[in-house]
Amino acid sequence: MKKFIASLLVKSLTKSLRLFRLGGGTALPGLLAEKIFPSLLSELKENFSKGIILITGTNGKTTTARLVTNVLKAQGYRVIHNFTGSNLTRGILGQILIETDFRGNFKADFGVFEVDEATTEKAARALKPRIILVTNLFRDQLDRYGELDKVASIINDSLQWASEAIILNGDDPLVSSLGRESKAKKIFFGIITPNFSLSKSVVDLNHCPLCDEELAFASRLYGHLGDYKCTKCGFQRPNLDVSAFDIKFNDDFSLSFNVNLKGEVIEVRSPLYGIFNVYNFLSALSLCTALDIDPKSTIEVLSEATPAFGRLERFKVDSKECIILLAKNPVGFSINIDTVKRDRRKKNFLIILNDNLADGTDTSWIWDVDFESLKEEDFRFAICSGIRAEDMALRLKYAGIPQSKLEIINDVKQAFQRAVSLINDDERLYILPNYTAMLEIRGYLAREGLLKDFWRSQ
């Protein structure tokens, strides 16, 4: 009965929300169901015949969860996945309930859920996952999380609930230091000897997470990701079970690289772009390998995956090409700037900055982004939009970008129309929104028929 009521509630509410285009509509109904039946999530876990997988970390949750889901579905498994990116326990519950039948029952093999960093422990306690994967940890939304070490400690607590394996980014010293008390098998992924240097961004961790001594980096990819060693206590990058090397960024926004999987080298070409996606690819591959899925068929599916919504999404207005690059925290933004700079075509910018709860209400982080490196780029305009457009324009002014190139239009729709009217046919418009700004611009573009609603694009 409980399941029936909860399922009816969630389905009817979600349908209404989507009908009126108020959003993907799983979080609010899920929240109601959670309030009425607090133990429901934990009870529902029994219905997953093959168990549950949780994916957490600062960047790459959505894409990794999506990649893993693609592979599992290609294997014929039934998968429930919170693809809308609604990643608090309410979003996970909402997603499960919406996939139930009219009696409130469902049959699924796997649950693949991305989960908000600060919620990981709560979700893991309720869902008792087989595997937990941690992508990376960077400063993000410090107004919600307090500080990075606090987030790391919450995730560390959650790892005790992983029954089978813990998959960790070996290049991230804060992540690789987690789970030391856990008995589950540990699997590390990472990138070996970068043959390129990336845009500089603020470094979140210079010191050993175990003993506070300064870390020595033999190589550093970006932020605090790299090949590190503590000279005092011996903590160092672990041996990588799954790794990538020889990464090439191709002009058609694809990636080529080699993967080393337990000694076997496999060549990969992927329509995903940007260094983040190499990590996402590796984390998905590590996860599927841990689930005993054949690596060859995994790589086949992964090599066909297209980006998740708002992550390097391309569309055209008449003959003008626009690219959306979600940019919601300092390291993510800095890497996006690096991606933009690799594009040799002429380009202009629409940067949208909101300060809603889901973004983090503190916009200070934009000063940690390396906008200074945009100075050398040849572009005609950067329109700043969103609730905090003025802050973004001010940041760009202090990055040395001439004020004559800057324009402030708070309204997202008007800003987009203005940007499109200004670009030439041979130029690209890069749209760099933070989280709610991305939902806002995508919502507008979907209404205009330029993009699909994200809950349909699955």
Binding site: S364, W367, D391
Partner: protein, 246 residues
């Protein structure tokens, strides 16, 4: 003309966009043809603070503050003496706390500061987070963002930076924010405090020049239209934005 900025422990004490303040001072000097050099003070080296014309220190995580705290003690007397002579500086959040007398954590652990500012801090359970508006006699209206669990109290030797109009300020009780002693400012308004309050940036630059050249120096005004737009946008959000509590 030139000034030398001592940026204390940038790798550990630059939590919330604090580097924005350094960028602001650099740019506002550059636009006026004032040469600006930055010396980064790192843990374990011997810095000569007598060369400094301006101090800056941001906020850090507990880990950062722990590592930095001991190192800073070794400069205690030197910094104290120079600040008495008029060395200007800006200290934010953790930097503000460490320049005070002590920090007592909520578990009762006593961490000594360097006692340059007559302030002390007591750890609290609830973090004070959100946009802040401050009314300052010296600077007029100031805006910023705060995120701290420490409650700071002022002794007799310091003046508050201003009165809290919106937000929590030093401790959420006496409605005061920050502290000023001679030419040294401590505040909880973290991250890009100076770009949105350019009058404070210019005050610091002028004080640094006057300190270095031992004469009163005033600055050419700049076009601060964009600075004021961002200032006003944050002021509006101080009244309308929702805040979280953790």
């Amino acid at each position: 003309m030139r000034i030398e900025i001592f940026y204390l422990y940038p790798d550990l004490m630059s939590l919330y966009g604090d580097v924005g303040n350094i960028i602001t001072i650099l740019k506002r000097c550059e636009w006026r043809n004032i040469k600006c050099e930055i010396y980064e003070v790192k843990v374990g080296e011997r810095a000569d603070f007598r060369r400094a014309d301006l101090l800056f220190m941001g906020g850090g995580q507990d880990r950062g503050q722990r590592i930095v705290g001991n190192d800073l003690q070794s400069y205690k007397e030197e910094i104290k003496e120079l600040v008495e002579e008029g060395l200007p500086g800006l200290l934010i959040c953790g930097g503000y706390q460490l320049f005070g007398k002590y920090f007592k954590t909520k578990d009762g652990i006593y961490i000594p500061g360097i006692d340059v500012l007559d302030v002390w801090t007591i750890g609290g359970d609830r973090r004070m987070i959100g946009n802040v508006i401050v009314a300052s006699t010296l600077f007029g209206k100031l805006v910023g963002f705060e995120n701290h669990s420490g409650r700071t109290f002022l002794g007799e030797k310091v003046e508050p930076l201003g009165k809290v109009v919106k937000g929590y300020g030093n401790n959420g009780k006496d409605m005061l924010e920050g502290a000023i002693y001679k030419n040294l400012i401590g505040t909880y308004l973290h991250g890009p405090f100076l770009p949105k309050n350019p009058q404070v940036a210019d005050w610091l630059i002028a004080k640094a020049l006057s300190y270095r050249y031992k004469e009163e120096i005033s600055l050419e005004p700049l076009d601060d239209t964009l600075e004021h737009l961002a200032h006003n946008s944050q002021e509006r959000r101080a009244y309308t934005a929702k805040t979280v509590h953790i």
